[in-house]
């Protein structure tokens, strides 16, 4: 590092949300893209009166941490090993500190630090039980036992979820996200094309061997539902029951309906009938599991149980795929 006379070294003035102003060495502060941009764009930060206002997530203690990080990493001569060792020590913080840190680093657009902190947080989640995770992060368990056993509902009509999705998309500068929303509405008009496509798909791919019945797109289910009678198909469902998991004995009809609750998803798939909202729940067998993969199997079974009669409607005799199988060494 060149020897710089004190009066020649530049400083940048920063103001934390608590109105306190401090000065930071230029090369350290400029390591943060957001600060860098502010300086270049508006010329702020050059003096005490024109201090750069930092986002509210950057409290003084967190700012101190971030500056430590920047001070170390902005030095060009360091080896990868040195940087890695520093990072590993740096990230040894408690979970809430890490949350504050990631939030602040994100607001300053300091991507490497965001990634580093995210990895640390992910390590605290991976492989742990729900209880352990709740304890680490002080999460209050406000799901009732029943809610945990419920299959997850499609809640795309939740405005909060939608808003979050949109904000997120904009944040990533995805103009396409808006096109997505437009496309979703456009797709309602393409119902006819899609049914032909799907038919062709099914005909081409066929319905082969004994791998078990395949779950289908919910769209198919929507179309056929009106025509299906529940009674005749229940035998098939029971038959499949024994074939597959054989352990669950909940009622089928209502469960199938609540999985296709009215939503944007339905509209997107071009269905034009509404399902009754109140068909929601649920007399799940309380002996049922808590783990999500068990829910998956149950859901699949439900899907599978509706498959056979539909297949018979589309493909008369079940065609098999004709693909030359090639063996590779």
């Amino acid at each position: 590092m060149a020897i710089i006379k004190p009066e020649m070294k530049s400083f940048i003035w920063l103001q934390t949300p608590d109105e306190l102003i401090q000065q930071v060495e230029e090369e350290v502060a400029m390591f943060c893209p957001m600060i860098c941009r502010e300086v270049l764009r508006s010329g702020m930060g050059s003096s005490k009166n024109f201090a750069i206002k930092l986002p509210e997530q950057v409290t003084p203690p967190i700012l101190g941490l971030i500056l430590d990080y920047c001070r170390f990493h902005q030095v060009p001569g360091r080896s990868n090993k040195e940087r890695k060792t520093f990072d590993e020590k740096f990230i040894r913080l408690d979970s809430n500190k890490l949350c504050e840190l990631i939030s602040a680093a994100d607001s300053l657009k300091l991507r490497p630090l965001v990634d580093l902190t995210a990895s640390a947080l992910a390590r605290m989640i991976e492989g742990k039980t729900a209880e352990q995770i709740r304890e680490t992060f002080h999460i209050v368990d406000d799901l009732t036992e029943e809610e945990k056993l419920e299959p997850l509902k499609i809640r795309t009509n939740d405005p909060r979820v939608r808003l979050l999705n949109r904000l997120y998309a904009r944040k990533r500068k995805e103009l396409k996200a808006r096109k997505n929303l437009k496309n979703v509405e456009v797709e309602e008009e393409r119902v006819d094309d899609r049914s032909v496509d799907d038919l062709l798909l099914f005909i081409n791919s066929g319905n082969e061997d004994s791998k078990g019945v395949k779950p289908t797109k919910n769209k198919k289910k929507n179309r056929r539902r009106k025509n299906n009678l529940k009674e005749p198909s229940s035998d098939i469902k029971n038959g499949n029951h024994k074939k597959e998991t054989g352990s669950l004995s909940s009622s089928h009809n209502s469960e199938i309906e609540d999985c296709v609750s009215p939503s944007k998803l339905l509209k997107m798939l071009g269905s034009d009938f509404d399902f009754p909202e109140d068909d929601f729940d649920d007399d799940l067998d309380p002996a049922l599991m808590e783990e999500l993969d068990r829910e998956v199997e149950e859901f699949a079974r439900r899907l599978n149980s509706v498959w056979p009669e539909r297949v018979q409607g589309i493909i008369p005799f079940g065609q098999s795929r004709s693909i030359a199988s090639v063996s590779r060494n």
Partner: protein
């Protein structure tokens, strides 16, 4: 500075979705989905993920292959069904699941989601035949396919946004793959692995990185002016060897004739042999001014033609900095090598490798041509820093002689270190 007691509040649940996504993306997908039972706020955080990576670890380990397959299919279907929001990356890598109508349906679903990055690697056995909806992924920027069959519909005009294409063990007609490459006008990186007997002409005006591996009969880089790095590994079959014998064109010109921006060239196995067909030592019209690194493996120093390829390369790369060559010669035929007087008589004396700093020769058997080549390099590289020689493991007794001969060679660079690597790790 006082140390604060860590607060007992729940900070993580209120982080913005973009940050939560960054965290959840670093988890295996299964763990990400499990967060849904943490609390009511967490119920659907996972469902907005935009980078999805499915693999066999998503479902619990089981030795029953059919069960594993069913579980995986159920998991993916259920996941996609409950997912909400755009999907930018979809990757499926499985050894269990082979071709199946489910995959077709997933692709149909995904084709409406403006996916930009698609990776599909299915199991061995019956190869997956890509449905036509795969060609409707308009926003695709990166595509990687392993073990599948591609047959684009006639109306397919190319992936107009595709920058990275990686096809491995893909069944596709030769002109189809050529059309595919040339129709993706923004293509920057192309990887083709394990293709059989392919005759390929590549026209890709923006292509920068090219990786080829397999049995290629013929490769012609017709329109690739922006190529920066090439790596080729060529395997040989009898069929191809016969084709080589009958070929009359100059492979060197066809392959390296139009790559002025080339910086790095790597050739494995039979690459030098392929390049030697029809080759002469004449100067290339435009020298490779950007070429800095050349790595050629399994060069047979008994074949004069292969040596000519190497010479032609280094003589036309004035800014070459690094050279790595591994030999594949048989030392027993040392004394009968033809053209032994080439190095004395025909080799250009006035060539200077002005920038050459590092040379690494491995699997050296000590055959005369190898020695001649090393002597040439040592004598004409004024800024050489390292000349590293590693004898072949099959050479056990001749090592001392090899070393003695090496020591005698004149060195143009006073800084040159001659490193003789005794034990290969």
């Amino acid at each position: 500075m006082h140390t604060e007691l860590p607060s007992e509040e729940d900070y993580i649940s209120d982080l913005p979705q973009s940050i939560v996504e960054t965290i959840l993306t670093k988890l295996p997908l299964r763990d990400a989905v499990r967060t849904s039972i943490l609390s009511s706020k967490w119920r659907y955080k996972w469902a907005a993920l935009t980078q999805l990576e499915f693999d066999d670890k998503c479902v619990s380990g089981t030795y029953d292959r059919t069960l594993a397959e069913t579980n995986l299919v159920n998991f993916v279907t259920r996941f996609l069904f409950l997912h909400d929001g755009p999907i930018h990356r979809f990757s499926l890598s499985t050894a269990y699941l082979q071709s199946s109508p489910d995959v077709d349906q997933w692709l149909l679903f995904l084709s409406r989601k403006d996916v930009k990055d698609l990776v599909l690697e299915l199991g061995e056995g019956e190869w997956f035949r890509a449905p036509s909806c795969l060609f409707a992924f308009k926003k695709l920027v990166r595509l990687e396919l392993v073990r599948c069959e591609l047959d684009p519909p006639l109306s397919f005009k190319g992936f107009l946004n595709l920058k990275h294409l990686n096809l491995q063990q893909v069944l596709i007609a030769p002109d189809t793959v050529e059309n595919l490459i040339s129709s993706c006008t923004l293509l920057e990186s192309l990887t083709l692995s394990y293709f059989d007997s392919l005759e390929l002409t590549i026209r890709a005006p923006n292509l920068k990185y090219l990786i080829l591996e397999g049995e290629f009969k013929d490769i012609c880089l017709e329109n690739t002016p922006m190529l920066v790095a090439i790596s080729v590994a060529m395997y040989m079959t009898d069929d191809i060897a016969e084709h080589f014998g009958q070929s009359s064109s100059c492979n060197f010109d066809k392959f390296l004739g139009g790559v002025p921006s080339l910086q790095r060239l790597i050739g494995h196995i039979y690459f030098t042999k392929y390049m030697s067909i029809g080759n002469t030592l004449r100067k290339t019209p435009t020298p490779y001014r950007q070429l800095k690194v050349i790595e050629l493996y399994q060069v047979s120093f008994e074949d004069m033609k292969e040596i000519m390829v190497v010479l032609r390369l280094i003589l036309n790369a004035p800014n070459l900095q690094e050279l790595q060559i591994s030999g594949s010669s048989n030392s027993s035929s040392a004394s009968e090598a033809p053209d032994l007087d080439f190095w004395e008589k025909e080799c250009p004396r006035d060539c200077t490798f002005e920038r050459l700093k590092m040379v690494k020769m491995t699997d050296m058997s000590g055959v005369p041509h190898e020695m001649g080549f090393i002597k040439l390099l040592l004598g004409n590289s004024p800024v050489l820093e390292i000349m590293s020689i590693t004898p072949s493991v099959y050479v056990t007794e001749g090592r001392l002689n090899l070393l003695i001969e090496l020591l005698r060679f004149r060195r143009a660079s006073a800084e040159a270190e001659l490193i003789f690597v005794q034990d290969q790790v």
